[in-house]
């Protein structure tokens, strides 16, 4: 599939970076680098969990977790993952904060329950964001995620909550 067709369908295809259950946001985006600006975080993101991650991740790769992904601190770890090139997140279940941060940062996230066990570190996976169809290209396994409600999809399609508000600026009386 060529790049333009992929965008039209919003296909994310990449290599899986797999973490386990109850992965906290401080392990993804450590407190040490939160106040140092954007670049140092890009150099250290995820290294507590997967030491080679910040050096080897490629644009369009997929972050896959177990249950309660992104628990603990409400720092916007998905935004940093997005900036590092992650194209989508899959998990058994996500913490509410992490889930909303991802959507509000324009990063697709799907909770797929136990089906997540069909996805391992290093697998190639393709996700059709609009239909929720997920295919593990390495094993052939197919998974269907529950779609997101239309208004949430609209935030995601805008690229996040800031872009969503900007695209509807006239509806916000308190914005000049």
């Amino acid at each position: 599939m060529n790049e333009e067709a992929k965008r039209k369908e919003w296909i994310v295809e990449g290599t899986v970076w797999r973490v386990g259950n109850n992965v906290n946001t401080e392990s993804i985006t450590p407190s040490r680098w939160l106040h140092e600006g954007h670049q140092p975080m890009m150099e250290h993101i995820g290294e507590i969990l997967i030491p080679e991650f910040p050096k080897k991740v490629k644009k369009g790769d997929i972050w896959v977790g177990g249950s309660n992904l992104g628990c603990s601190s409400s720092r916007n770890a998905p935004m940093y993952l997005r900036d590092k090139g992650i194209g989508a997140i899959l998990c058994q279940s996500a913490s509410r904060i992490f889930f909303r941060n991802a959507l509000n940062s324009g990063l697709p996230i799907f909770e797929i329950g136990k089906e997540v066990e069909k996805i391992k570190m290093g697998d190639r996976v393709r996700i059709n964001v609009r239909s929720g169809e997920i295919k593990n290209l390495t094993t052939g396994a197919e998974i269907k995620a529950k779609g997101l409600p239309d208004f949430i999809m609209a935030i995601l399609e805008s690229g996040g909550i800031t872009q969503y508000i900007l695209s509807r600026k006239s509806e916000y009386k308190l914005l000049k």
């Binding site: 401080e26 985006t29 450590p30 407190s31 628990c71 409400s74 935004m79 940062s105 916000y172």
Partner: protein, 418 residues
């Protein structure tokens, strides 16, 4: 009706009038109070300035900016400049600003009566579920805060409710911080992901309001979206003079449907400790006795109330600390009370250092940093990797256990000093 408190509160705040509600429904609701702290990246005020010029917020009385939550002083030129800009931005929009020394946002919001029974609140921090302790429903809000400040509304998914019932009376030397640690270890951190936790039982209703905070606040460590504790006479009395507007107490119906119920009898519970490096890594304190501790912090959102400092002072009085020990009240109000009761004198005489009210060393963002290989102990809610320097470790224990540990420089049993 068979409705839970969270269902009733969300229903009452729905922008579109509704006459029925069930878990999984998505509603847009009116917000009674919203705030954020100095925060990180996307939670800074730049999320608003990115939208162009704002002419105000939906209701300045219902919005607060907290600059003394993570930081106890302006410890760098960059922080000072950032705080100056944030303060100017907030003041221009008529938002009340809480400066250094005011303390931990969640506790202030309850002390100041900004959260109250039946209210729906959002805040830019993961421990926002805390306000359930005063009968409110409160949930974290991230970069969507722009939506809230501009419109006073936010969408919510109606959660199922899990009930946690705690009965029995604890033995001497066992505190609320031990009880919640025991519960997190028992059920696990993903026990109630995206749920509302409703706390109940004779034990929790026997506690003064500030000692209920560790439960509603650490609902986050159980995965919960929000937390609720039915207001009783103790709550109403504590709120008197704090809440400046009339409020209506909301309760779950007697036949409300709870998805799950957990019960705990704390009568035989021993002092607990949480070992490095995950908040569910609970052990009896007796199994950790003697572990070397370089730094103790008495304070944080789950161990910095006046009740905690009274207990710590009782233990520290007449002793000198071996570990370097930081005393950090949760809020300015607690600091004043510690001064009035001459507890600060006890701490200074025992060799502790005093710091302004803020979060403490639960995360070393401001002071009290650790070197690799060093170990600290505090009563805060978390000890995850990434919160302090790589290669440093954190134990969690009751404020009393922290005080005993400070004296010995090793993990110690508070009962030896009571």
């Amino acid at each position: 009706m068979q409705l839970t408190a969270v269902e009733k509160i969300l229903m009452k705040h729905s922008v579109d009038p509704i006459d029925k509600i069930s878990p999984g429904d998505i509603l847009t609701c009116r917000i009674d109070y919203a705030g954020m702290h100095e925060g990180f990246d996307a939670r800074k005020y730049t999320q608003f300035t990115d939208l162009g010029e704002m002419t105000g917020v939906f209701d300045p009385e219902k919005v607060g900016m907290y600059l003394g939550h993570h930081f106890c002083t302006g410890h760098s030129d960059e922080l000072a400049e950032d705080q100056k800009k944030t303060r100017e931005w907030a003041e221009k929009l008529g938002i009340r600003v809480f400066n250094f020394g005011s303390g931990i946002a969640h506790i202030i919001i309850m002390e100041e009566g900004l959260a109250y029974p039946g209210a729906l609140c959002v805040f830019g921090d993961s421990h926002t579920p805390a306000y359930g302790a005063v009968g409110a429903i409160s949930a974290q809000c991230g970069i969507e805060m722009a939506q809230v400040f501009l419109t006073g509304t936010l969408w919510f998914k109606v959660p199922e409710t899990h009930k946690y019932v705690i009965t029995g009376e604890t033995k001497k030397g066992v505190y609320p911080r031990d009880v919640i640690q025991h519960i997190v270890g028992k059920v696990g951190m993903d026990a109630s992901v995206y749920k509302c936790i409703e706390w109940d039982g004779s034990y929790i209703h026997s506690l003064p309001v500030p000692l209920r905070f560790p439960f509603t606040l650490m609902a986050t460590e159980l995965g919960a979206k929000c937390s609720f504790l039915e207001p009783d006479a103790t709550t109403v009395e504590w709120l008197m003079g704090r809440v400046k507007k009339p409020y209506e107490i909301v309760k779950s119906d007697p036949d409300a449907v709870f998805e799950k119920t957990y019960t705990f009898d704390v009568s035989h519970l021993e002092p607990q400790v949480c070992a490095p490096s995950s908040p569910e890594n609970t052990k009896p304190l007796s199994e950790a006795l003697g572990a070397k501790i370089d730094q103790v912090c008495i304070g944080t959102c789950t161990g910095g109330s006046i009740y905690d400092f009274r207990e710590a002072a009782k233990i520290l009085k007449g002793h000198k600390v071996k570990a370097r020990t930081l005393i950090i009240p949760s809020t300015g109000e607690v600091m004043k009370q510690c001064a009035a009761e001459e507890l600060l004198q006890v701490f200074v005489e025992s060799g502790c250092d005093l710091f302004p009210a803020y979060c403490g060393t639960c995360q070393t963002l401001s002071i009290g940093h650790l070197a690799p290989g060093e170990v600290q102990m505090h009563p805060g809610p978390r000890n995850w990797p990434g919160r302090t320097a790589e290669g440093s470790y954190t134990y969690l224990g009751s404020p009393a256990a922290c005080a005993a540990t400070a004296i010995e420089g090793n993990i110690a049993d508070p009962r030896d000093y009571l």
